[in-house]
Symmetry: C2
Subunit: 370 residues, 2 copies
């Protein structure tokens, strides 16, 4: 007995030494909450490490696109059982991350993980539990619905899709009309992003249950009318999408949902490229929206707003690993120029969805208060 | 010029001979309608052949699970450009098919195709255009919505999801109440199947636009409360799901949607294992549903129905490649015993979604007529 105990202790010390001063990797790995049903991998631990396990007995090489930047991700090691396994070299930022596998030179998804539309393809997704994850958790509170609508678009000769969040109570309070937030995804994403990656509906359900925001409708549609490849975001032409949004979708929503159909009760927000869209369309169409929000998607300058109807709110946010100083400076300039402007910086996050979940959580209570 | 023309002709003849009497493969391949945006492969031709192209430069072997049965699918051939390509040995049945790739012994999805939940995993999907595809096409007609609802389930201590199709006009006709069809997926699928693979909403939109069916609500939820692996479908216990459906979901739907909340205006249908569920629950709870439909999911025997309130309709269907004689015989026996029973056989389809799309298209106009 004594020998055995000594043996265990000595092994632990050796393991500690082996880490050369690094914190040891905690062994509390659990399946990611975004795994497919019944799938044990990928796993994440309480420190933010991610561990992968991929079956490919005859493959030579399996690499995961996640891990330390600039080193090509995490190369997995092949075991005698035909499984490739590996752990990220360091902990990752809290929140949602897109990823994919490179198997013998080809790009594939992890069969253990759910897929999310980003980079113009359905990619694997993994969730590093955030310390504040409860604000977007699925709880036993009254839930709003996310409705898929299909609307005819004359300008593009197509039937187009949007998702509409209606808050809890919408079906019952049949004499109540609601304000509307038009909420755009980023480049390479689509109208599914704010529900699937962003949990916009759960964020709203929880805020409403806590009495922290007025109930309002959120409309999420596809913000592209043409193909855009990497590096060509600046070639994006706003006009066709602006027509779909302003001349087709808004009238459809106002005709089919109980909205308060005026400028004062209509806001637009977007993340990344959706922020560019928000910036351009709110300036092009100053009579349509009263509140504007850019999430990791640029800034407004006071000069751009001069001579237009004053917005009720300008909200600008980003992650602390982006350009928080630019955001704060822009908001200070807007405030000095007399605008109701608010900045928000998400701590320890980059250009990723936890930044935008948190931004929506901060933005919602500020909307439609005037 | 003459030589060149002769050369082309002779090549065509040789190609014809090479087919050994088979019809030549038509070269009108087009991207499958279920491809991811901007993806050119997989492709299908007018005869029902499917062609695949997968990039995996260092892989040894790529196989597609589709193709002729019993031969392990279609083995792709590696080209000098690092792409594996290949065409199914023969034409496939019209309609939707699940598939996956086997790359060096591991199971992955085709990065070109959209994914659909089946076999308890998100699988690739491909669509062989059917001669009658217009009945489930996305057309410029008034569209109903598909609403994601989240309801609390006391019996399973969880928040559960369902999708609710509300017909066109539901938001406007606020004094109208609607009948409800509860529609179940098959084994290994989930509540997304009837919308994604089945196009249930588009089938209804088109039928309603043509005046061929009364508008009604469809509710689709997850029909499993425990894990079931291959070959263990007979171990399935209906009680926990029956409780969720009858005691939790139906009251939630009746409280949150404008339903006619009585037996006469409530139907249940299911495909495959969803048919087993429909069979059992409609017999266990004869006061809840008035119309029953089994799509490739078993039959009712007159003796099972004796002494119970008579159903208004019993609908039993399958594909012609399943057991159509069993379906017709069962319906004849029900008719002889005085029941309003209808059979339907989908021509040239097997245990797959085109059978069930067509079945729903036949079933809907027969519902809620009494």
């Amino acid at each position: 007995m004594k020998l055995k105990q000594a043996g265990i202790l000595s092994f632990a010390l050796l393991a500690g030494q082996f880490c050369f001063g690094q914190t040891a990797i905690s062994n509390d790995f659990k399946p990611s909450t975004l795994n497919q049903p019944f799938q044990q991998y990928p796993q994440v631990n309480s420190q933010g490490y991610a561990r992968f396990k991929i079956k490919a007995p005859q493959a030579d090489s399996v690499r995961v696109s996640l891990g330390l930047g600039g080193r090509g991700g995490t190369l997995l090691t092949k075991g005698a059982d035909g499984y490739f396994t590996g752990t990220t070299e360091g902990p990752m930022d809290e929140g949602f991350h897109y990823y994919h596998l490179t198997i013998d030179g080809g790009t594939f998804n992890d069969p253990g993980a759910l897929n999310f539309y980003g980079s113009t393809r359905w990619e694997s997704g993994i969730e590093i539990p955030a310390h504040d994850q409860l604000f977007y958790a699925l709880k036993n509170v009254p839930h709003g619905n996310v409705q898929q609508i299909l609307f005819h678009s004359k300008s593009t000769s197509s039937e187009r899709r949007a998702f509409v969040y209606t808050p809890p109570g919408y079906e019952k309070n049949t004499s109540t009309k609601y304000p509307v937030l038009y909420l755009q995804h980023g480049w390479g994403e689509d109208e599914t992003a704010w529900s699937n990656q962003g949990h916009a509906n759960l964020i709203m359900d929880n805020l409403i249950a806590d009495g922290k925001t007025k109930p309002f409708i959120i409309v999420m549609t596809y913000g592209m009318t043409n193909e855009l490849k990497w590096g060509h975001v600046k070639d994006f032409k706003i006009d066709p999408f602006q027509t779909v949004l302003v001349d087709e979708l808004i009238p459809y929503v106002d005709a089919h949902f109980r909205t308060i159909a005026d400028r004062k009760h209509r806001a637009m927000a977007g993340l990344s490229m959706g922020g560019m869209e928000t910036h351009t369309i709110t300036l092009n169409k100053p009579d349509i929206f009263s509140s504007f929000a850019l999430l990791s998607g640029g800034i407004y300058k006071p000069a751009e707003l001069e001579g237009k109807t004053k917005p009720d709110l300008i909200f600008i946010s980003c992650g602390s690993r982006e350009r928080p100083d630019g955001v704060k400076k822009a908001v200070n300039e807007l405030k000095s120029a007399g605008y109701n402007a608010v900045s928000y910086v998400s701590q320890n996050t980059a250009h990723e969805f936890l930044t935008w979940r948190r931004s929506l959580h901060e933005l919602a209570p500020l909307l439609f208060r005037k």
